[in-house]
């Protein structure tokens, strides 16, 4: 008889090929088109901000895991890199490097590691970092660089959303403000101002399609989120087109696509079931529209996602899957 040693373990003996490092890598790939547009728009500064955020996020994760949590740091799971990239995607390309590092520290340290690391944080870490920076450094965080191709002398300018809000406060109507803003096709391809990652609707949609194709995410969160933004902003647009911008404007400006595709779909901070995901997506869409139309900030995506993050446990509780064998049998 052979003396070969055999491995014995309980079933199942095979597993899916899609593991955490592969998923994280796919998400990073999905973000590259958006990054490329940003580099085209802002040149070196987009690269500097992104690299600063990624390196500092990874460093904070490593140090905190090793010296504070006293666990084996696991950078290979790739989550710190994604947090860093998303953080960079949510800030202006000319943000001073030291603010980026502070944001990174808050995102990773407070947003993620303080809860015990990957999988335990209730809020999206990158958004925790972003909101912290927005509140602590409001001037730098809303000082948008003008894309290199813009034919203006100014170094900084407003985003479309900011310009709209400002115009409305000055008593102008939406049709009067619109001609001063980039055209829809410029917004679609990315010829507009804004945060590093939210330039181009097209780049976001490519990322979405890639992640759906790789089965990294399902359609439920991004589509319900976007449809909700379209419907709620559409209702107000139909009521008063002078005071409220069109749903297309709301979908293509600011962080709606970035949020719906890359931030709201974060596994850790979104619900388990498809039903829960739809409620979550619609909630983000509604809150985003309410903040944009009636709030003090021109943009509301970050707050909307963070608010809905807080509702995830309760959504999970009330959207448990229907157990097999509860349907009455009809012979």
């Amino acid at each position: 008889m052979s003396t070969q040693l055999l491995t014995v373990s309980p079933s199942p003996h095979v597993s899916s090929q899609l593991t955490i490092p592969q998923i994280m890598r796919a998400v990073i790939f999905a973000m590259l088109p958006a990054l490329a547009i940003s580099v085209y728009n802002f040149g070196l500064s987009a690269i500097i901000v992104t690299l600063t955020a990624v390196v500092s996020a990874a460093l904070f994760e490593y140090v905190i895991a090793l010296y504070l949590l006293k666990v084996k740091p696991n950078l290979m799971d790739g989550s710190a890199i994604i947090t860093g990239m998303l953080l960079a995607f949510n800030v202006p390309a000319n943000l001073p490097w030291w603010i980026v590092i502070i944001g990174s520290a808050v995102a990773v340290g407070v947003g993620k590691m303080s809860f015990g690391g990957l999988g335990n944080n209730p809020f999206n870490p990158a958004l925790v970092g972003r909101v912290f920076m927005l509140i602590s450094f409001p001037v730098q965080m809303t000082n948008w660089p003008v894309p290199t191709f813009a034919k203006v002398d100014a170094v900084t300018g407003a985003t479309a959303l900011g310009a709209l809000k400002e115009g409305l406060l000055l008593g102008k109507t939406v049709p009067e403000i619109m001609p001063e803003l980039p055209s829809y096709s410029d917004m679609f391809f990315g010829f507009q101002g804004g945060s590093v990652g939210e330039m181009s609707a097209l780049a976001m949609i490519i990322g979405l399609i890639y992640m759906l194709w790789r089965k990294i995410i399902t359609w439920h969160i991004p589509i319900s989120n976007l449809v909700a933004v379209a419907i709620f902003s559409g209702i107000f647009y139909l009521i008063n087109p002078d005071r409220f911008a069109s749903p297309i404007f709301h979908l293509m400006t600011g962080g709606v696509l970035l949020g719906a595709i890359f931030m709201a779909t974060d596994y850790v901070t979104s619900p388990f079931t498809h039903k829960g995901m739809i409620i979550f997506g619609v909630g983000i869409g509604l809150i985003t529209v309410l903040i944009r139309l009636f709030g003090g900030y021109p943009e509301g995506v970050s707050f909307a996602i963070l608010i809905m993050n807080a509702f995830v446990p309760i959504i999970n509780k009330y959207t448990k899957p229907v157990k097999f064998g509860t349907k009455p049998v009809k012979l």
Binding site: V8, P12, S15, S16, I20, G119, Y267, F272, P321
Partner: protein, 446 residues
Amino acid sequence: MLLNLTKKLKRFHKGGIHPEENKFSAAAPITELPLPKSVTIPITQHIGAPAKVVVERGDTVKVGQIIATHEGFVSSNIHSSVSGKVGKIDKVMDSTGFKKMAINIRVKGDEWEESIDRTPDLIKDISYAPDEIIKKIMEAGVVGMGGAAFPSHVKLSVPPDKKVDHLIINGVECEPYLTADHRIMLEKPHEIMVGTHILMKALGVPKAIIGIEANKWDAIEKLAEVAKDYPGIEVQGLRVQYPQGGEKQLIEALLGREVPSGGLPFDAGCVVHNVGTIYSMYMAVQKNRPLIERVVTVTGKDVKTPSNFSVRIGTPISDLIDAAGGLPENTGKIISGGPMMGKALNELDIPIAKATSGLLLIPDEKAHRQEVYNCVRCGKCVDVCPMGLQPVELSLLSKGKDLEGVKANGIMDCIECGSCSFICPSNRPILDYIRYGKSNLKKAPK
């Protein structure tokens, strides 16, 4: 195109996964394995009470002779699969990983009981009454051959308060790699049809449906063609999706009925039997041939000739592996059954039992669990659970020994199909925890 093939493929509707199929041995005809030198026949090859040994060391036995009788209703007779001399009756390692009482028989010649019809002729006429049929099946020691090994006569004895209107024949074989049922359907279609008629008569049901997944299209076509001569039998193609061969999933796929939580197929008006079992029942009733052999797939990525063997019960697995080209050098794991629900074996002389559907040889580099990451709450396990449970929740509650919690979250509904552990991107041993929770719940005082 045949009429019933133009119908839409059906499938079950909750959860499910699509592991790589790897049915390497699908084209290999069933071949008879040469008689082994000796067999070791465990007296517990079924769910229920162990059979009672009725032979002694030194006795001479014939093929088909009873060597252990069933103890009580939920138990099964055990027959000698060879002729020869009874040797040691002692505890040996079996596929469960525990030592179980077994009867060793040294093979001498191949002498069969006279009552057994060894001709290959098909006997279509069913001359027995329903209770006689069930008795013959019980005498022949037939058990569920898909893996569960539940005594078949118990499944045929419908409680008087239940109404059964469908017999369902399970030809799904949803486990990757395995092809034993596929080959039986291709090579013994008439026997399966007659066997199905026998059961329809025993149960008094007018309708039978044979469910087969679309990755065995030749079997669907073959059986649909043959079924034209057998009234009341319908062949239904199914979209490939694991675990469709689970009886609850199969009933839901075919009839849209959900077996109630904690209930049996009876409660959904069904009786489900595997095609391999149907074949054994045909042999038992029409040919007086007890369950002494079965078809076993021997396969794996590095197996020289992936095969389907007709094997006498009690043959050591090493005989089958040798016949399939020998044990590949890189073998790290040997699984009895399929990769999703099969059991890893720890020795090479473990005997083939009534429910051993296959031997899967896994190379060492694939034999080990992968690195485990934190749970990222992606919800994929919830998405794929065919029982509508929340595996992530159950595993955490089980880990924390929260017995109330696991019970309230339906842990006993878990069919242990392994879809959750399969899909988990963090490679978490979700099903291990759930099994732990289940066993703690069973042990707990009521």
